[in-house]
C-alpha cells in the first residue's frame, strides 16, 4: 500500500457504537474520520425507546450531563396479555435514573455535537460502498465520491452489516436469529400522557411496558406467536412497537403491521393510546442470534462493533449499552495498535479479550442458550403459565361464595390435567437450565 493515509482510524456508521469508538480514538489525539450515510445523524435509526445511563456516562463522561432526554424511564411493567385482560408485574423506583427516553434523531445529534468538539472529523451524507482491501488487509473505504485510507477501519454499520459480510467476517443471516420490529410514534398531549400514566410534569418519571404473550386477537396465526410488544412514554409522544421473529412471520404468513394493529385493539393498550395521532412509523431488525452467531470480530486492519457484531441481549432489551461499550473497547484496541504500529489481526484481537472481560461477552455467553430454550417452550412460558397465574390471582381476588380450598384444589388439579407430565418436566427443566446458565455465567 503506497496510498497516503487520510486518518489513523475510519469509523463507518454514526450510531452509538461508531460514535463511541470515534470518540475514544479522538480522546487519545489520533486522527479519526466518522462516516455516515444519512443526511442527519440518527435519522436512519430506530429502537424501543430508552438508552442506558451507565454506558452513556462511561463513554461521554462530563458531557453526559447535557443530554437532551425527554423522560427518565423508571417504571417497568411486564404484562402477560390474554383475551380479556392481562397479568402484570410492575416495579417503580422514582429515585433511579438508569434509562432515558430520547428520540434517536436527538440522541445521535447530541452525540455527534459532543464528539465533534473532541476532534472527531464527521462526514455525513456519505454511503460507504466497499472496503479497500489488498492481500487480505483492509486499508480504508470506497464511498460514492472518493476513497479514504487509514490503517484501521471500524465497522459500525448496524444490524444489516453489509461490510462485515463483504469481507467474510460473518455468514448469511438465518431468519430465525432475526427479530423484525415496527414501531409507531403516537402524538398525544403532554398533560394527557402524564394523567394516563401517573407521571410528574418535570420529566423525572416515565413508563416502559413490555407485553408478552399473544393469547388474544383474531388474526389467523397470531395466537401462540412468540412476540413482544413495547411501550415507552416520551414527553408528548408514546412509542408503541412489536417485535416478532422473522422465521415465525414467514412461516405463519403474517405481516408485522397487522400484528401491531391487532395489539392496539387490546383492552390493556387501546385506552393508553386513545385519540393519539401517529406521527411516524419505522422498522428495524434486531440481531438476536447471540453468542453462537457472533461474527469474527477482527481481521487485518478491521474491527466490528455494536449491532454489526450482533451485540444484543434480547432477553433484557439491551442493545445501545452493548453498542456504546463495544465501541469504546474497539477504540482502545485501535489506539493500542496505532501505538505499536501493528494493525494485524493478532494485534487487534486484544479487542475480543477486552470484550470477554466486560459484561458484553460474559452476558452473551451466559445467555447463549436462554432464548432458544424459552423459545422452544414458548407456548407454555409465554401463554400457558401466565394464564394460570392470572387464574390463581382471580381465585384470590374474587368473592364468588365458593370455598377457597375447593377452588385452589381445582386449580392445582387443572395444571396436571392440562399438561402432560413430560411437558411439565420439560418446562421446568428448561427454566431451571436458563436460571443455572445465568447464575453461573462465565
Amino acid at each position: 500500500m503506497d496510498k497516503k493515509y487520510n486518518a489513523d482510524v475510519i469509523v463507518v456508521g454514526a450510531g452509538p457504537s461508531g460514535i463511541s469508538a470515534a470518540l475514544e480514538v479522538a480522546r487519545s489525539g489520533k486522527k479519526v474520520v466518522l462516516v455516515e450515510r444519512a443526511q442527519y445523524p440518527g435519522s436512519k435509526n430506530m429502537y424501543g425507546g430508552a438508552v442506558y445511563t451507565t454506558a452513556l456516562k462511561e463513554v461521554f463522561r462530563e458531557d453526559f450531563d447535557a443530554i437532551p432526554y425527554e423522560r427518565v424511564i423508571n417504571s417497568h411493567t411486564w404484562a402477560f396479555l390474554s383475551d380479556n385482560g392481562s397479568f402484570n408485574i410492575t416495579n417503580n423506583d422514582y429515585n433511579t435514573k438508569d434509562a432515558l427516553a430520547i428520540k434517536r434523531f436527538n440522541l445521535e445529534k447530541w452525540m455527534i455535537d459532543v464528539v465533534k468538539r473532541h476532534g472527531v472529523y464527521y462526514i455525513p451524507n456519505t454511503l460507504v460502498k466497499n472496503l479497500i482491501q489488498e492481500n487480505g488487509i483492509v486499508y480504508g473505504i470506497k464511498t460514492e465520491l472518493e476513497d479514504y485510507y487509514a490503517p484501521i477501519t471500524i465497522i459500525a454499520d448496524g444490524a444489516n452489516s453489509l461490510l462485515a459480510k463483504e469481507i467474510g467476517l460473518r455468514n448469511k443471516f438465518d431468519s430465525k436469529d432475526i427479530i423484525l420490529s415496527v414501531k409507531e410514534v403516537i402524538k398525544l398531549d403532554k398533560k394527557t400522557i402524564e394523567e394516563r400514566f401517573h407521571l410528574s410534569d418535570d420529566g423525572s418519571m416515565g413508563v416502559n411496558k413490555q407485553y408478552f404473550g399473544t393469547d388474544f386477537g383474531s388474526i389467523k396465526g397470531i395466537r401462540n406467536l412468540f412476540m413482544m410488544t413495547y411501550l415507552y412514554t416520551f414527553k408528548d409522544t408514546l412509542m408503541l412497537g412489536v417485535g416478532v421473529n422473522l422465521a415465525d412471520l414467514t412461516r405463519n404468513k403474517l405481516n408485522i403491521n397487522q400484528i401491531l394493529d391487532e395489539v392496539k385493539k387490546h383492552p390493556d393498550i387501546s385506552p393508553l393510546i386513545k385519540d393519539g395521532e401517529i406521527i411516524e412509523y419505522s422498522a428495524h431488525l434486531i440481531p438476536e442470534g447471540g453468542y453462537k452467531k457472533i461474527p469474527k470480530l477482527t481481521s487485518n486492519g478491521v474491527i466490528v462493533v455494536g449491532d454489526a457484531a450482533g451485540f444484543v441481549n434480547g432477553v433484557h432489551f439491551e442493545g445501545t449499552n452493548f453498542a456504546l461499550i463495544s465501541g469504546k473497547l474497539a477504540g482502545e484496541s485501535a489506539i493500542n495498535a496505532l501505538n505499536n504500529n501493528d494493525f494485524s489481526e493478532r494485534s487487534l484481537s486484544v479487542y475480543r479479550k477486552k470484550l470477554e472481560k466486560s459484561f458484553i461477552l460474559k452476558d452473551l455467553y451466559s445467555y447463549r442458550n436462554v432464548i432458544e430454550r424459552l423459545y422452544s417452550r414458548s407456548d407454555s412460558i409465554a401463554i400457558y403459565y401466565p394464564k394460570k397465574i392470572k387464574q390463581f390471582f382471580e381465585i384470590i381476588t374474587s368473592a364468588n361464595c365458593v370455598s377457597k380450598s375447593v377452588q385452589i384444589r381445582k386449580f392445582v388439579f387443572s395444571i396436571f390435567k392440562d399438561r402432560k407430565f413430560s411437558d411439565l418436566f420439560k418446562d421446568f427443566s428448561s427454566i431451571f437450565k436458563c436460571v443455572m446458565d445465568v447464575f453461573f455465567g462465565k
Partner: protein, 98 residues
C-alpha cells in the same frame, strides 16, 4: 378483507414519513426467479408493503421509494435473490421521531 385493510393501514402510516427520494432503486429482484416463486414471501412480510405482484405479467413490482431500510426482505426471501443495498448517500427514509 384483512389483507386490503393492512395495505391501507400501511399506506396511512407511510404517509407520515419523510423521504429523500433517489431516482435509482436500491432494491433489485430477479424477475426470472420471481416468476417461479410460489411463496411470494417479500409481498407478505415487508412492513412497508414495498413488494407486490403485477396481475398481468406476474412480475414483482418493487416500490423502493417506500422502503424503511430494515432489511427483512433480503433475509426472508427463500431464494435469496433480492439484491439489497442502502439507498444512495443522503437519500431514503428520514426518521425524525423514532
Amino acid at each position: 378483507m384483512q389483507d386490503k385493510e393492512n395495505k391501507k393501514s400501511i399506506q396511512d402510516k407511510l404517509a407520515t414519513l419523510k423521504y429523500n427520494c433517489s431516482e435509482k432503486s436500491h432494491l433489485e429482484v430477479n424477475q426470472k426467479k420471481c416468476l417461479k416463486c410460489k411463496e411470494k414471501t417479500c409481498t407478505i412480510i415487508c412492513p412497508a408493503g414495498v413488494y407486490s405482484v403485477d396481475e398481468v405479467s406476474g412480475e414483482t413490482i418493487v416500490q423502493y421509494e417506500n422502503c424503511l431500510e430494515c432489511g427483512a426482505c433480503r433475509i426472508a426471501c427463500p431464494y435469496g435473490t433480492i439484491k439489497w443495498e442502502y439507498p444512495e448517500s443522503g437519500s431514503g427514509v428520514v426518521f425524525k421521531h423514532s
